[in-house]
Amino acid sequence: MNDMTQSNLERALKIVGTRPARPDGVDKVTGRALFGSDKSLPNMLVGRVLRSPYAHAKIISIDTSKAEALNGVKAVITCADFEDFPSEFVPNGEMVVNLKDITRNIMAREKALYVGHTVAAVAATSDEIAEKALGLIDIKYEVLPHVLEVEDAERPDAPLLHEDMITIGVEPAPKKASNVAKRVEFGFGDVEKGFAEADLIVEREFTTQQVHQGYIEPHACLASVSEDGQADLWCTTQGAFVVRNFCSKLLGLSAAQIRVTASEIGGGFGGKTVVYLEPLALALSRKSCRPVKMDMSRAEVFTSSGPTSGAKIWVKIGVKNDGRITAGDCVLKYQAGAFQGAPVGPGAMCAFAPYDLENVRAVGYDIVVNRPKVAAYRAPGGPISEYGVESVLDEIAIKLKIDPIEIRLKNAAKEGTIAPYGPKLGPIGMIETLEAAKAHPHYSAPLGPNQGRGVASGFWFNIGGETSSSITINEDGTVGLTLGTTDIGGSRASMAMMASEELGVPMDLIKPVIGDTNSLGFNFLTGGSRATFSTGMTVVRSTREAIEELRKRAALLWEVDLDQVEWVDGHARLIAGDEPKTMSLAQIAKQAGKTGGPIMANCSMNVTGAGPSLGTHIVDVEVDTETGKVSIVRYTAIQDAGKAIHPAYVEGQMQGGAVQGIGWALNEEYIYNDKGQLENAGFLDYRIPVCSDVPMIDTVIVEVPNPNHPYGVRGVGETPIIPPLAAISNAVSRATNIRFNELPLSPPKVLARLMHG
């Protein structure tokens, strides 16, 4: 009777879809919330990292004896303190990781591969001593030529980062090692035939620069390993379980030996899905038998964490005169950083995914360069490839004198479309977001002088994955939820809302907490826009199981059969009988001791059926033609959320994604000098937008329910960073009548084009 998979799509909802205050809000605004570096332990040491000053260098020798001898130094570690691993790829959300590379990235072994690459670490009784100790570590390097850009790294005479790297995905396999780690290809049909049928073909090359997620909270952790090998780790992360698994492998500890507790997180956006300091702190703690706290400076975050790829891409699209696409083709070359793993796979998969095409091909190359290894960044790979496609489409729309929304509508993917990466799509909201964009007053508002309006769409897959959570009904009628996915964007609120909706009790009686790695089964990290979808699924199911148990208890107390009891509005209700008889959740809970003990339920599953989310953004820019400075005048983000559990947090995701995309489009870039040193490792010269740089981002939530989720949820976190790059570039191109194919559109670059064409 109580169906665990039943859909609520047709049901009138009381809580889901409203905008209650978040349960973690007061702690955050009062400064009570504990972030990565907010915990301390008695006898704690400070851990500090020694980083490579060279972009590419062989490590000849490391002598730590002087540092070890310094009074106050309790441990020094190098690669000798970590086991080596054979090459093996394991999926990590939307990215793939390899332990052989991870152990080398957290601590350089044979070579230092980028400026900022960790080569040693120390733990000491004070920051000053730790710093002094770093200066006493003697490392002999043999400096090698380095390479920073994909087009240089590809060349046959390029310096090799990994002398044994043979390109994967090329038949026959190359005999010679290169910096090209892998080639991927997606698509179907015959693009040459499609281009032959086209009335108009536009082909362009694009460049995007390496950008960082720019989370405000630097990486930080506190590790304590006891003499018997039991480890406790407190850290800021998007996935405590994933950290536990990485660390247990890297340190040779069992999963049960490490308990990881995720702190509140000050932003991650994909950048906190891998480990940097955590294994070092554990190793230092194990060696010193004292707790070790580590954190990164902002400069270290820039040089030594995981930004996303800069890229060179080539896009070719053929169309009929009516705007119908006959073929789409692209080649994507993404920087991986020092170790393979650029998000070029997802980039290639989603490049043309907003469209229903007959002939499509996307080829991607994952290329290593002497920069920090990239990590996930919000829709990893998507913003780059879709920027190219959406820009070419805009140019085509201008050439054919077709409205940019119309040309997208003409080609829009819909339910039943075969996606370029293979599967047949379920219901998706491409057409709905385009229609909403067309109808929005922004789209028909007049433009001022030197202003231009750009439009672009974006597609992102979203994921499910391994998830577990539990619910406890307390004796006083309140409810506890234990969740295993880090709350990055308000997911505790959404989970409590779904449980509240199911149970029929007010949300403020429900306390959601994020559990540590000992409190639940494995949870994959918060990434791939999966938390509200996947954890929501387990919360709905475990809540329904708890309701089942509550009905059983009521049936026992009433001495009737279970099917005589239904659950309505937070109460058990006797179906038969002359008089209506009800018992509240609190009344049942109070008597739980006599009816079989505490009431709790949990749900563990590998969630599938994530629904792709599509978005369309409209932006008006104004270009100062004498200075090249671009201002965002008006911005509207429209997106299919499936179902917005908490609309304010969905809007927040849409606005946040748009703002990060604005930064990527206008000013953000890693600037290296000829020694391979990052010149702008700080927020003064790495320019993420400040508040006054962006107007209020208007939002429209479109709801095309995902049939695979009881409330219709799709992930919403990643899609909104995809359209801004092209939308802004298209707007600048339309404002100036010059086609821009390079990001960022910073004032000097824009003025140079205005002056020289």
């Binding site: 004498e626 090249g628 010269d685 006054s692 000097p748 140079a752």
Partner: protein, 284 residues
């Protein structure tokens, strides 16, 4: 590291004459440099307890702005803002509300950054600074202080106690503009300060233009007299101002802008700041 709070100018001079001594005003530059270990002072001399160093006063001779007065107080000073809107707007661009609560004119000048926002505006306005030393006090035009990035003409034990600005004549106006890629919390790629006064019949009587971030030090443009003095400003004159500004540039290529870009922007900002100053003069 020692920290001292002298109560008089002579005490401060004495403290500052020690090896490795640094003056501390708002600390918004010094503390950043301390934290990044760019400097390691032996003595930090907090100059904020010296009489008159944190006051703004108007007299018949003109304005006195204490060198350690927080920018926020200057920005909120109505009659000073009416007299010197360009100088005040330059200060109002420094950092953010929080930064302006601490940042000072003395610190902005003595930090000697080519990109400092107040310096071009002060130079254009013809401001002078009063320098306290161990034996005597001296007064210098602001443009005589900075010699190179991070370097000043201040001698051992010397520090700036305050700035002097004249009371502007009727029909005077000044303006400061900077170009930053963002809208705030940024560092000037180029800055331009203009100050001018008009005769009753609308001819230019006096004009000073200073540029920032286009050379190792701020540059006071020369050669403006022939173009402007005794004439009504016209497009031709403005075009000449643009060329003069461009020619004065000796910028570098760096992460914040190319030589070509800075040169072009110097002309654009000089022209625009001139336009604003002129409008203000006409309304003053």
């Amino acid at each position: 590291m020692e920290y001292v709070t002298p109560k008089s100018a002579s005490e401060a001079s004495q403290a500052l004459s020690q090896e490795g001594a640094f003056a501390l005003a708002g600390g918004t530059d010094l503390l950043v440099k301390l934290k990044t270990r760019f400097v390691s002072p032996s003595v930090v001399v907090d100059i904020k307890h010296i009489p008159n160093i944190m006051t703004i006063k108007q007299s018949a001779e003109g304005w006195w702005i204490g060198a350690a007065t927080p920018c926020a107080e200057i920005v909120e000073h109505d009659s000073l803002s009416k007299n010197w809107p360009g100088v005040v707007e330059a200060l109002s661009l420094i950092g953010s509300t929080q930064i302006q609560g601490r940042a000072t004119l003395g610190g902005n000048l003595c930090n000697a950054s080519p990109a400092a926002d107040s310096i071009p505006a002060l130079i254009a306005a013809g401001a002078t600074c009063v320098i306290s030393g161990q034996t005597k006090e001296r007064e210098e035009p602001v443009e005589k202080i900075v010699t190179a990035p991070g370097m000043t003409t201040l001698g051992k034990g010397e520090f700036i106690i305050g700035f002097k600005l004249p009371i502007p004549k009727n029909r005077s106006g000044d303006a400061y503009l900077r170009l930053i890629p963002r809208s705030e919390m940024d560092i000037a790629v180029v800055g331009a300060g203009v100050s001018l006064s008009l005769s009753e019949d609308g001819k230019i009587e006096a004009i000073r233009v200073a540029l920032g971030a286009i050379a190792p030090t701020q540059v006071l443009l020369s050669g403006l007299e022939d173009i402007f003095i005794g004439k009504e400003p016209n497009d031709d004159a403005i075009q000449k101002l643009v060329s003069l500004a461009e020619k004065a540039c000796k910028p570098i290529n760096d992460k914040r802008g190319t030589i070509e870009y800075r040169t072009k922007i110097a002309g654009v900002l000089a022209k625009r700041a001139f336009g604003i100053a002129l409008k203000r003069a006409n309304n003053y």
